[in-house]
Symmetry: C2
Subunit: 665 residues, 2 copies
């Protein structure tokens, strides 16, 4: 990454930057380019020239004004002044005056930045971002420069034996093995570069690559293989730097949205092999994308660390997952495994290792272990509750004394799936909803458009459906505006024009009028949708209750919301509908894609893999359905809370008081 | 193998049995079936019913009379009497009276048995036979019967972890790994047979297969990958028994007969990969054949040990062999390597190991190491000279104190290739030639026909060319009949009708008249052919001289002729033309396919692999062309010896005296 301007570097402050339409926000060190800031957040901006300012593809727009939702005052002056290239482009009319090249403009203050569709590398919104943790760099894969003198008639050894001797003498690497693929490259590598070789060694025991000349840079990939999304992060194994990230839809989505359907799709070895290949091909494609982004070859990627839930983990290995779908939900393998890339059909260096972190149980996967590795509940006294909301809800409750885990049958409602107008978090999805509790006026915002629905013409909105973050908003706001009661039932007596009955007589609430949509009909939230959210949040809450009871505690010291979904929802509103136990709003944090961070940690620091193996063995998996109180907890928890009674920390905030007028302006 | 009849079993004697037209001969224990005897010699007889006497495909013919060449008096009474099946077939006219089912007829005395073409499984003659050595059975691969109780909600481990625990508790197998292929079979194997599993373990460290139920038999394959022929032996890894053997032409033969042309054919990675695949596919096919023969699946073959010369070894691994063709002839890898079958494209158990024995140098391969392992020169005081005549001639000279090896540039003449009428040892090839030194009458015998040419009508012979064994005969007999002198020149003055000049005026000697051939013209041996044989045998002799000089000895204590060719040539006549130093005719032995035997030893006894690795490091490779005396030795050795002076042990035998009248009857 390029270093900041000298005059800017003196400013040690950091500023809040929010990238729209994804809504991804972070504290960014002053002087960072917008493109680097976006990259660190996993937001991919087109960059053919890799940041040299010559391709002009990375342009973004600075939004002006005060954005109360994020408490950001954004202004063009909060960026470094135009570079010559940019002024030139604007003069020639090839760039708008409010646009900047994100690789040239550096952060000097708070910003709300809009990334137009054409500047984004992928059209699916990347929501899995890389955290900003400090990671020790001590990788499994290292490159060594070696000079191998040419063979002579007198040398009584083969080339490989001579090379192994040199590795032992000069690097202390004894009893080395060599992968067949690497062995095959030895004759060619030797012929060039005067005997100078770069030898790539895995785990101090196996040569996995030999190239002619000195090429010391090494790269690895961390992968979070989700039921819905696959996120991949390319890292330098020397500096630990996250160089690029990319994500793709898990192509198995076409074969079942949820875990159980996915298992059913693996019926027979041919179908299983096909499902395996889908993911392998997508990973190969992501590797290709990432390699191109930083101008390396896929053969330069010499290790992958992958985390996944147990079903994705088994299918990725080509192991029949059926046993995971029936009592006793037994995995075929739990411990971490190391497999050659070629054996899994991943097109990186064929001899590269794919490290799959250990899984805990049938419903608690290595993604959960990775979250624990990243958040470290086992390293401190504070009792952490970590909630990873993916297609399934996974919980960890623990501290240095003990760790418990559970899997909650949330269903996909919290991700916006299986609702009347539910959709994925892609452009056009309603992502925020506000209802004025006095006037009951409603406004919303869609992904891909920075403006609230009440600030622009109806035909400029083009809403397509409702995604997960808005689902939480809707239930919380309906409750706050007393449009639903604490059992979740619509309060028909209120008489809102938005609350009506469909042709079958069922109650529904209009979120977007047909004129505001791109689908030509009203987008509604139904009584059934509210029930689905109640079941999902009830499962999470009751799961946490079971774990707290096992632990003998009333509430956690900290609640960490992990996962792509966790980073986009409004935490206050999630608390208001009772999604998790209260530990004080200041102790409830969104930690982004902690599973991906855990994978990256294990990629960069080999010793942390041992820690992960220990975590997987330490964590006690609690099968919720086997707990005698879970069912009653679950039923109770489907109710919507009375904020004052149940959530002391909400007193004076959203649900406890009328909100401030500004919020509903 | 079926056990012999009780009444026959009491006879503890053994008898000489010779199988025609291959000429393969051995001492066979009385009571052994002809089919088993043939099988042990690597002669494959068709056997669809696997010896039950029901398929009637294994019929052979008993030749009657005294066969002086082998000193055998063969008679139908020297076999057990007809079984009911056989009498029935003869009655019905479905079998000739002189035919027997080889799976039913048991050896009771000396026999000359003819195996008709239709009873042989392959049409190429299998000349690589299995030796009769005693081998300790302590294989790398073992099967274990395990009972794996079903998983429960309480079991906190995956299936594999539970299985690994049982293997450790019950079998003492700690810290086990599992191959991905085996892991994939675990769910299915578990579902059946009430939790009883058979687990195949390699080297006490890796599970390579899991099947449901108890299936304890394990199988391995020993392979001798020659430049021309690939021989494969299927062995039981429990009993050590050689169950079946098969051979095939090395399909690379179409891309160069000799080593140097073969190297040239590997130009570019695509061509190299194609050459690799050819051999891999042929090995897969041989595995399929062998598996069918003993009614197992190819997945039951759980290890292969392979030996080859260094070029074949490198190409088989997919390693560019070009460096082996130019000074300093340096191999890319010497030490033994273990590679998964799937990584080499061999269709046996995908997770099976392919063990390639170590090579010594660019021109001395693992076949040479295997020969030393089988013959054990390093284990005794006697100075052994082992000559392995393949497409190249490889020498080992050594005893417990020291071992030397060399590779002689013999060229393919000794195998019958590159001669005017040279051909491979397949049916129709002239394999034996005799010239009466008094009358200068010539007779010959072809493969596929047990009778000498002077005993049958000319049009029943159908000679097609001359193979390696006849080449030695011809030169020795021409010399003995004084048709050539000691410089190898034809003695034109003798005035034989067979000695004539071709249209270009070059001298040639007619071996078979056109009427005796299947090609419609005279089959001749030319002056140039004699020169080629002189160069080949001169190289072998001079190579041995260099090694003896390094050792400080005049002659070896023992000469062992290994290789397919070694087992068919007439050793006395080979000595008469000066192919190797004299150590007394009684100390010159043909040891058959010792390389194949060495591979089988390493397959069956894991500890012998360590011994092989030591041999490869111990043997000092002598580059003949670097020896200052080699060239002069070579020139001298191209001359044909005066038997009385140069070969004391031949005094009174072939070259020293007129032969016995019977020999030339």
């Amino acid at each position: 990454m390029s270093s900041p301007n000298p005059q800017v570097n003196q400013d040690k402050k950091s500023h809040r930057v929010c990238f729209m339409p994804m809504g991804t926000m972070a504290e960014v060190a002053a002087g960072t380019t917008l493109r680097d800031a976006a990259k660190d957040l996993g937001v991919a901006i087109e960059a053919v020239c890799n940041g040299r300012g010559s391709c002009h593809k990375c342009r973004v727009r600075v939004l002006e004004g005060h954005f109360e939702d994020h408490d950001i005052r954004s202004h063009g002056d909060n960026l470094s002044s135009h570079r010559q290239t940019e002024s030139h482009l604007i003069e020639k009319g090839r760039m708008r005056a409010d646009e900047r090249l994100s690789c040239q403009a550096r952060v000097l203050g708070e910003l709300m930045v809009y990334i137009p569709d054409e500047s984004r590398r992928t059209h699916a919104v990347v929501r899995k971002s890389l955290g900003q943790r400090e990671i020790n760099v001590d990788p499994m894969v290292r490159n060594y420069r070696v000079e191998l003198p040419p063979a002579t008639l007198a040398s009584r050894l083969g080339d490989w034996e001579r090379l192994a001797d040199i590795l032992e003498e000069q690097q202390g690497l004894a009893a080395m093995n060599i992968d067949l693929h690497a062995l095959r490259t030895l004759p060619q590598a030797q012929r060039t570069n005067g005997g100078v070789l770069t030898v790539t060694v895995w785990n101090d025991c196996e040569v996995i690559r030999i190239v002619g000349g000195e090429r010391l840079a090494t790269y690895g990939m961390a992968v979070d293989l989700g039921t819905t999304t696959i996120a991949a992060y390319l890292c330098s194994l020397e500096t630990g730097e996250a160089l690029a990230s990319a994500s793709a839809l898990n192509p198995q989505v076409g074969h079942g949205d949820d875990i159980m359907n996915r298992i059913a799709s693996c019926n027979g070895s041919l179908k299983l092999a096909a499902m395996q290949k889908m993911v392998a091909d997508t990973l190969s494609q992501l590797a290709r994308q990432l390699a191109m982004q930083v101008s390396i070859t896929t053969d330069d990627i010499s290790e992958i660390v992958l985390v996944a839930n147990t079903v994705m983990h088994h299918i990725f290995l080509g192991i029949d997952p059926h046993a995971l779908g029936v009592v006793p939900f037994a995995p075929t393998v739990c411990r971490s495994v190391d497999i050659k890339a070629r054996d899994l059909g991943i097109s990186i260096l064929p001899s590269a290792n794919i490290h799959l972190m250990p899984v805990e149980a049938g419903f608690v996967g290595s993604d959960n272990v990775a979250v624990a590795l990243a958040e470290g509940p086992h390293t401190g006294e504070a009792l952490q509750l970590i909630i990873d909301i993916g297609t399934n809800g996974e919980l960890i409750l623990g501290n240095q004394d003990r760790m418990l885990s559970a899997s909650c049958p949330t269903g996909p409602a919290l991700e916006g799936a299986n609702l009347s107008f539910g959709m994925r978090a892609t452009p056009g999805a309603i992502e925020r909803v506000r209802i004025d509790p006095t006037t009951r006026e409603l406004r919303f915002r869609v992904i891909g458009n920075p403006y609230w629905s009440n600030k622009i013409a109806a035909n400029e909105i083009g809403a397509l459906g409702i995604c997960g973050s808005a689902v939480i908003d809707i239930v919380a706001e309906l409750l706050n505006a007393e449009l639903i009661d604490h059992s979740g039932r619509f309060v028909e007596e209120i008489g809102s024009e938005r609350l009506r009955r469909d042709t079958d007589g069922r109650l529904e609430f209009v979120i977007a009028w047909a004129t505001q949509t791109g689908i030509g009909r009203d987008i509604c939230f139904t009584q059934a949708d509210i029930r689905a959210v109640q079941l999902a949040k009830g499962a999470l809450y009751a799961g946490a209750q079971v774990l707290l009871r096992k632990f003998g505690r009333q509430q956690p010291d900290k609640v960490l919301i992990a996962g792509a979904f966790g980073s986009v929802i409004d935490l206050g509103r999630a608390l208001a509908i009772g999604m998790f136990p209260d530990s004080g709003l200041e102790n409830i944090l969104s930690v982004g894609n902690a599973a991906g961070d855990g994978a990256r940690i294990a990629l960069l620091d080999a010793r942390r893999r041992t820690e992960a193996d220990q975590i997987a063995r330490l964590v006690e998996y609690i099968e919720l359905t086997a707990d005698p109180y879970f069912n009653q907890d679950f039923v109770d928890a489907t109710l919507l809370p009375h904020a004052e009674d149940d959530f002391p920390s909400l007193k004076g905030s959203l649900a406890g008081q009328r909100p401030k007028p500004a919020e509903y302006a």
